[in-house]
């Protein structure tokens, strides 16, 4: 395989605390060398002047519609969006039709991804059959088939005994349990954050307690079982102290947040804007600021896109009836770079949440530019301003909560195992 040399580029690698303008050689699909380099014959040279080279992103929460809802998104279409956004590994959720609760289905996802997707795709498998029962799936067989962790996706496990057993059984293998922590009874028929705005709009609110009650329960069960636990998405300031305490007590607890919750707040659903209808819901501005602060302190480990494609018919509905979710895999990186520019959070810190930390939590060898690591890399113009337009995004579905948002940071090229999977066309 021919080699590529990136010259005069700002190399940013959180895992090695590296931030330097230098050169980087990719050979045989891995990071070969960093530093003062001289190009050999027949090496491709890419001038990275003015750009940054970062590890390809690992997006820990992506829904596609394959299998079952291919009109919303396929693994192929999601991967094109991912590549355009600098994401080289998508962790896909099991809430498909059928649900990924059987080893053969894990195998199906892996093979479909290999044959059709341009990025890496790694499935999480369901914790319980159908994501809605109390019967555990075959954790060992699913792991051997390639499931990287266990989650019921956007379904919560309401039965505490089932969750206890899931955690206990998962800890046999030191498998990671990922949970959408939401008490469905308190969630009830809610469609947005509970507060003044929901009252004014006449919409049913979802109290922050719906999340904190479930997190509190889960953390007790973590203490009971010793399981490795990842809170898929936190949305409320009130949820943070319990997570911090569990960490202080030595429990292996990590947590994620969606990029939407770092950039938007509940006011974005004003005028019944259903594109901003998310689960967990967008909370108040003080919650958003608390999440941003927790991210800067490292209390929040991971930022996800929570990419959730929904077709127009599912979204262009009265707010109550509209589906939850927003696409986002293509805008995850630009969201984080914008956050860096707007809130002044250190670049390595924000990038760590989509590279080093998800790799560590999931046990992946990607997410770093260490010598010998797979050459999953993204070349990005950190300063480039643009306006997100859902119609221009590659996803099959156009339900972007960040539609019309002014952002900074644009992916110029993206490589998986040293092979280009996206290169921005030169301006005419």
């Amino acid at each position: 395989m021919s080699a590529i040399i990136f010259q005069n580029v700002r190399v940013l690698d959180p895992a090695n605390n590296l931030d330097a303008v230098t050169n980087l050689r990719v050979a045989d699909g891995v990071i070969a060398e960093i530093g003062a380099l001289t190009a050999h014959d027949n090496e491709q040279i890419i001038d990275g002047k003015g750009c940054a080279l970062i590890p390809g992103l690992i997006d820990m929460q992506v829904w596609t519609g394959e299998p079952g809802f291919e009109h919303k998104e396929t693994l192929a279409s999601a991967s094109l969006a991912a590549a355009r956004g600098g994401v080289t590994t998508m962790i896909v959720m099991p809430n498909t039709q059928p649900v990924i609760d059987d080893a053969a289905l894990v195998d199906f996802i892996s093979r479909r991804a290999r044959d059709t997707a341009v990025t890496r795709v790694i499935p999480m498998a369901a914790i319980t059959k159908g994501c809605n029962s109390d019967q555990l799936t075959e954790f060992a067989l699913l792991r051997e088939a390639g499931a990287i962790a266990f989650t019921n996706g956007d379904h919560s496990i309401m039965n505490a005994l089932t969750m206890r057993h899931a955690m206990s059984y998962a800890s046999n293998f030191d498998a990671l349990v990922v949970h959408h922590a939401m008490d469905e009874n308190l969630f009830s028929v809610g469609v947005m954050n509970e507060g003044e705005l929901s009252t004014r709009l006449g919409l049913s609110g979802i109290p922050a307690a719906a999340e904190t009650v479930m997190i509190d329960r889960d953390l007790r069960l973590v203490a009971l079982t010793g399981a490795r636990y990842h809170l898929a998405q936190v949305s409320s300031e009130m949820s943070l102290p319990a997570i911090a305490e569990a960490r202080r007590n030595g429990h292996r607890v990590s947590c994620g947040v969606s990029a939407n919750h770092l950039l938007l707040n509940e006011n974005d659903v004003e005028n019944y804007r259903s594109f901003a209808k998310l689960n967990p819901p967008l909370r108040g501005e003080s919650d958003r600021l608390a999440l941003v602060n927790a991210l800067s302190l490292g209390l929040i480990d991971v930022v996800v896109s929570a990419h959730n494609p929904q077709d127009a018919d599912a979204k262009r509905q009265p707010f109550n009836q509209a589906a939850f979710g927003s696409i986002g895999v293509e805008t995850l990186l630009t969201s984080l770079i914008s956050l860096h520019h707007a809130e002044g959070i250190d670049l390595l810190t924000v990038l760590r949440t989509v590279t080093q930390r998800p790799a560590e939590i999931l046990g992946l060898e990607t997410g770093t530019l260490s010598i010998g690591a797979p050459a999953d890399i993204t070349l990005v113009d950190l300063g480039a301003p643009w306006v997100i337009s859902a119609d221009d995004l590659a996803s099959k579905s156009k339900n972007a909560a960040l539609d019309d948002r002014r952002v900074q940071g644009r992916v110029e090229a993206c490589f998986v195992a040293g092979k280009p999977v996206f290169t921005r066309a030169a301006k005419a």
Binding site: R200, G202, L203, R316, N320
Partner: protein, 319 residues
């Protein structure tokens, strides 16, 4: 927006809620409605203000009084009025609200009156049509003509809408009538007390401009007007209220609870009433204190005023 070059008396294309109206807008509507109150009491109740106009009443939620009130209002103004209820509409066949809007719009109506069970649904529909849209109630959001008819009823009895103390009692959480009335009374300069059990008071509702009470004795003290809200039967069977008996004991308006308010306090109810649940018959039927029948009469007049003012802003309307 008005297509006329002159500034319209009522500068709104739709009537989607009280939120967004000015004090002047409300006065314009009420003054116009007053004119129709007189007309409606004559033998010949017909006007030709909407002659040639087509009005569609599109009701996704069943309604007797609001729908017939709008129908009568349109007919008295000379419009062709068509009623569409959800039972006979394509929405039951899976058509989306937006598709329904586009389909109806192709029939070139001038005014569409919409009631829908979801908050914001009427505004969504209004984005997709080229005619004027009147909100006849959307979810728990707004019911502007109800608040306007309540205002007209109060103004005709007391001569003013400012400086009053108005209690709204009952299921505030699920009530669009409450939200529209809170907005209107705030705009007009009156004070609003909300009274109900904590399970039926929505979060942070005080920030909408109201005081919140959980006891009738405290909430009714000094009130000029008491608006009772209907309690839906389905709330009784859940865990919001234990029983109708308990609700009536705490919040049902009877003569004793009425005595907590000002001696000459007046009682209103948007209907239909649950006698013996939220209101006692002796109060509901009181010859001088109850305004409930006045409200129904004012309803037709207010809707005539709203229809006429919106029609006046349509393209091609004569000045």
């Amino acid at each position: 927006m008005a297509s006329n070059t002159e500034i319209s008396a009522f500068p709104h294309r739709h009537l989607l809620g009280i939120h967004g109206l000015s004090q002047q807008d409300i006065m314009t509507l009420l003054d116009k409605a007053d004119h129709y109150v007189s007309l409606n009491r004559q033998q010949n109740k017909k006007s030709d203000a909407l002659r040639g106009r087509t009005q569609i009443n599109l009701f996704f939620e069943s309604s007797t009084r609001t729908q017939s009130s709008f129908e009568l209002a349109g007919k008295r103004l000379g419009a062709d009025v068509m009623n569409m209820s959800v039972a006979s509409s394509a929405m039951n066949k899976g058509e989306t609200l937006i598709d329904t809007a586009v389909t109806l719009n192709a029939m070139n109506p001038d005014l569409i009156v919409v009631r829908h069970g979801d908050s914001g649904a009427v505004a969504l529909l209004a984005q997709k049509v080229s005619c004027a849209v009147l909100n006849a109630g959307d979810g728990a959001h707004e019911h502007p003509t109800q608040a306007l008819l309540d205002a007209l009823t109060i103004r005709n009895r007391l001569g003013r809408l400012n400086g009053l103390k108005v209690a709204i009692c009952g299921d505030i959480a699920h009530s669009r009538v409450a939200r529209s009335n809170i907005a209107l009374l705030n705009i007009m300069g009156s004070q609003v007390n909300l009274i109900g059990p904590k399970t039926l008071i929505p979060k942070d509702v005080d920030r909408l401009g109201a005081r919140v009470f959980h006891s009738m004795r405290q909430g009714l003290a000094g009130c000029d007007i008491i608006m009772m809200l209907r309690v839906q039967h389905e709330r009784m069977s859940g865990n919001l209220i234990p029983s109708t008996r308990e609700y009536y004991h705490l919040y049902g308006l009877d003569d004793e609870k009425l005595s907590y308010a000002k001696p000459d306090a007046l009682v209103m109810h948007p209907g239909p009433m649950n006698r013996g649940v939220e209101i006692d018959s002796s109060v509901a039927d009181h010859p001088t204190k109850s305004l409930i029948r006045d409200q129904v009469e004012m309803g037709v007049a207010v809707r005539m005023a709203a229809l006429e003012l919106l029609a006046g802003n349509l393209d091609g309307a004569s000045l």
